[in-house]
Amino acid sequence: MSLPFLDVFRNGPQVRGLLAELTMRLEGGTTRRIMEVCGTHTMAISRQGIRQALPPELVLISGPGCPVCVTSNADIDRFIEISMLPGVIAATFGDMLRVPGTRMGLAQARGQGARVQIVYSTLDAVELARNNPDKEVVFFGVGFETTAPTVAAALLEARAAGLTNFYVLSVHKVVPPALEALCAAPKLAVDAFLCPGHVSAIIGPDAYLPVAEKYDMPCVIAGFEPVDILQSLIMITDQLNGERSVVETQYSRVVRPDGNPAARALMESVFDPCDAEWRGLGVIPGSGLSLKKEFSDQDAGNKFDVDVSYSREPKGCICGAILTGVKIPTDCGLFKTACNPGHPVGPCMVSSEGTCAAYYQYEI
């Protein structure tokens, strides 16, 4: 049985044909540096063996689109401290369990007695709150615009159900301000952006217009199957060869011209933009999401007063430079030695989409 709208985009001969087509368009030309913004793209590219198959004229650089990787140690420490409080059930997506904070990760906190529950959906976290009225369920709100609306929906659902024991610690971030910050940075040597397919399903292609127009960056919104990524690289190459810099949607079967207005409206009814600290990029104004005042009674940042004055970024870790595409994992002195999936130092190694994890797993 084939999986609909998935297997059909994994046709071997088509994939190889597209690779040949891309190679033909690149060969003999100038070297193109394309940043794949999204962590899921980094993983897909590594898993599908795309990097090795590309001609030397195309260099793919992994960007900061891994929400786990860009969460600062202070934010991770804060959630871990909350998880250790008595009476708290810390609910989280599985992605966060092994991310190290300054002193430990959630898995170690669990080992020390914290009640940590992995959920697949925020609605399962609300269910936890419903089923455990004597406990306080705190959900770790990590993710970009694809995930933030689902957290907003959960908060509204909890409120509608009259639950007073469901909280969110929001460290959500949004993508376009980060792209602009990257473009404005003097060191960035990137010719085009491969844009995140599912974030774009929510925010729509127009969100990238400022980047394309102000900074002359071709932006192609790509799907995640091998044919999607290759076709998107062809589209970027054509733009660069034709000296155009526009926003194009390759992932048209999912991304509408106006994105998903209902999801955006829900997100905007619960969250306000705020300044946020991105590991490796520093504080980017307006790039985070914080709970609106009306939701302060569900805001874990308000409710739980924990001391994270000990938070520090790990020594020797160059996750920041990796996230901005300035360095690659093999440039890091800790890569594979002190820092590996079994004992990660920085999030780029432990996060499933982290560049270092991808390099370690697929490309050594």
């Binding site: 040949a20 959906s121 995930t147 399903a201 076709q231 054509d238 048209s252 829900l266």
Partner: protein, 81 residues
């Protein structure tokens, strides 16, 4: 940044639906996609439907792959006109 998978809506009860993919089923919420209907293929992320799969666009995309991978076109942008 996000794992999302196409699945078919096989049951609707207000804002909760049952979706099916590969014989596996799960409940999902359509609160982010209020226009979703029975029989639609939707993208599921973390238990929520976030977008509808446009079958016409999917077919066009596939058609484009065929052409590109057969080396039928010199320049992709020609196909868009």
């Amino acid at each position: 940044m996000c794992l999302a998978v196409p699945a078919k809506i096989i049951e609707i009860e207000n804002q909760l639906v049952t979706v099916e993919v590969g014989g596996l089923t799960r409940r999902a919420s359509i609160v982010l996609l209020p226009d979703a209907s029975l029989g639609d293929y939707v993208l599921i992320h973390a238990g929520f439907a976030i977008s509808k799969i446009d079958e016409k666009e999917a077919l066009e995309t596939l058609h484009l792959f065929e052409q590109l991978s057969d080396g039928d076109s010199d320049n992709f942008s020609d196909l868009q006109d």
